[in-house]
Amino acid sequence: MRHRAAVMLTTDQFGYLRGVFLIASLAISLSGCQIESQTMVDDEGARESTFDWRVPASTPLPVEPEDNPMTEAKFQLGRHLFYDARLSVNGEISCASCHHQSKAFSDGIQRPVGATGEVHPRNSQSLTNSAYFNNLTWGNPALATIEQQIMLPLFGDNPIEHGIDESNFEQIIMTVQADETYQRLFLNAFPEQDDPLLGDLAWDNVVKAIGSFVRGMTSFNSAFDRGDLSASARRGEALFNSERLECFHCHDGYNFSDATIDRGVSFLEPKFHNTGLYNIDGMGAYPEPNTGRHEVTGNPDHMGQFRTPTLRNVAVTAPYNHDGSVATLEEVIRNYAAGGRVITSGENAGDGRVSPFKDGVLVPFQITDAEVDDLVAFLESLTDHDFLADPRFSNPWESTGENL
């Protein structure tokens, strides 16, 4: 519980510190309780890792799965696999097809299309700081690890994304096995295995390596992090943290999400929220299959509940919300200001403002056009331009022009 308290205090500090994170402020503002918590976190190896996480010293490191600890070699193998379209039924889809680095690994369209033409019901989500989420994707409490999540796009059949199935998986892994680049990368990544590329665990290694690459996608170098905000962005930050707008209630902490887990948080209750985006039956229903947490749990009270996404790099991940149905940040803000979205026509018509499942924190607020601009300026200050162009996350095959 002390760990949780430490995070909560960090959260409460957030907004006052404005980019000057914990370590810098410890000396001047923190109580003994917080210092004790900080010490405990250090005692538990919160900063210990053989992997270069590129996370600020003030930010806790992500959790590493016991069966897949981070290494640079796995990260680099995963990077090659992430950008390799041979991992698909027809050689046309790689992870990067729907996760573009320049868009913080989202894809800029409402809903992506899989290798065989099936349209995904959900918007491609940014992969920024995936390592810090307690569950993966827009609204699935059952997806606990990145490795679990990766099984879905690669091997899932509802919808088909990469389309790897029983008729082609052996052929596809043979293509990978035949590539000299992979022979070296697999050996480096899994030195404890006799034959990580040709052996029984080849596919498992593919999953673990891609998981390592995605887990390594940390992003903490925005203008906000540097304390380099315009006057407009500073006003927007104050609005963000105001009791009037309440943005920070869900988008809290260093990753701007209440679904954040790290080495200092030993337990986190599932955090999902209905934001009044739909109400198609007057009783709060969301259009199928995108009923969010409810889709997995079947609990009627979970209708329309989705996990709070990070706001880091949010300005480059349009369109917004789980189904990409909101085009701009301004539109997102105005939906919140209204206390929900009203859809006046079409099959999804309904008044989300009066949904019985809407999170209680979402109450309407007044906001001027200038304030919307300020809030957008603040959200834009969360863009880590280095992350969007860092060669570390770029396509390693690009020099040959193959396997895009």
Binding site: G156, D165, W203, G298, E347
Partner: protein, 360 residues
């Protein structure tokens, strides 16, 4: 192409302990006279110990899919299926089963110790069996022959000699701990990709316990929504409502059980059959698709996933779940009507003439 087969169909019985003894016809194994002392010594968990030291009987029980008594082959059009008398072809015919038992005339359930199979990709391990009833990969009519299919998808194992058996019992699905473990390094038949390719139930974190998918000719439509239609009508049975958070896993905490486990226990009375019929493969377990979708319109879908994918609010699941003996929407689990024990002679002699299992 409809065949008239004189089925020796055994009626379903519920849990043996609650069934009428008169409905069960005890079968005494000829080799050894059943002894009450041995039965009690072998009861429950002790049976596996006993089995190591005692003589055992090897059983081999084939499974087969049918449509109204006709062998369910891939690429074949079956007519008059479901409440709307649709014509369908199959797209998937697979299931997992575990906890195989033989129930004695005294209602004691004796474990069937599953054989360890050789080969790179065995269809069963010591915990769970995959029954792949398709004769081509992906059940496509033009696909290569299914390497997993040998027309005798079966469970094989051993039970101690000297038992008087009245029924065969098994549980549909994958045991909880295996269902929620990593799939990419799982032991076969649970490896994905591998035998479990296409059997992943990953959005719910597990496996499809049964996948019986058809393509209705002309596709399916939604009678209430002209904009909804599709080509594939699926029956996927699996656990739902299984939230497992990363925090729980990282802590080593036992995951929550699922809201709907959806693992029906199937008990099939031997009826007129004898235990030695289970030794010889003369009896097989039949899954009849026509009975699975009895009452459902397979060219229609009124909401939720197309067909029944175990969604707790999917309207097509109410009837399908009832047929397979599962509770749905809070109702009491009815008696299943899909699984039967039948004489395997017809199927085995026709499609596998060299089979040692061909009955007289």
């Amino acid at each position: 192409m409809t065949r008239s087969t004189p089925h020796a169909t055994a009626p379903f019985i519920p849990e043996a302990s609650s069934s009428k003894p008169s409905a069960l016809k005890p079968v005494v194994l000829s080799a050894v006279v059943a002894s009450a002392a041995m039965l009690s010594a072998c009861g429950g968990a002790d049976s596996s110990t006993e089995i190591d030291g005692a003589r055992t009987i090897a059983l081999s029980i084939p499974f087969a899919a049918q449509v109204d008594g006709e062998a369910a082959t891939c690429g074949t059009e079956f007519q008059s299926v479901g409440a709307d008398a649709s014509t369908v072809t199959f797209a998937d015919l697979r299931l997992y089963a575990h906890d195989f038992k033989l129930v004695t005339d005294e209602g004691i359930a004796i474990d069937l110790t599953l054989d360890t199979l050789s080969g790179d990709s065995p269809a069963q391990n010591d915990r769970v069996v995959q029954l792949d009833l398709r004769d081509t990969v992906g059940c496509e009519s033009d696909a290569d022959a299914n390497p997993n299919f040998n027309n005798r998808a079966q469970v094989s194992g051993a039970v101690p000699e000297g038992v008087t058996v009245s029924a065969l019992r098994f549980t549909l699905g994958v045991p909880f701990d295996l269902n929620h473990a990593s799939q990419s390094d799982a032991a076969e038949p649970l490896r994905n990709p591998g035998r479990a390719s296409g059997a992943g139930w990953n959005w719910q974190n597990g496996y499809k316990f049964a996948s019986f998918d058809v393509m209705p000719v002309g596709g399916w439509t939604d009678p209430a929504n002209a904009g909804r239609s599709g080509s594939r009508w699926n029956v996927h049975v699996g656990s739902t409502g299984c939230p497992v958070t990363a925090s729980e896993l990282e802590n080593g905490t036992e995951p929550e059980t699922c809201t709907n486990e959806n693992r029906p226990v199937i008990t099939l009375a031997l009826g007129a059959f004898e235990l030695e019929d289970l030794e010889s493969g003369a009896v097989h377990v039949v899954i009849d698709y026509a009975k699975l979708v009895d009452g459902a319109s397979v060219a229609q879908d009124e909401g939720g996933a197309p067909g029944c994918m175990s969604g707790p609010t999917d309207p097509e699941c109410e009837g399908v779940f009832a047929n397979v003996g599962l509770s749905w929407g809070g109702n009491t689990a009815p008696t299943q009507s899909v699984f039967m024990l039948e004489a395997a002679s017809q199927t085995m002699s026709e499609s596998s003439p060299e089979s040692a299992f061909a009955a007289e």
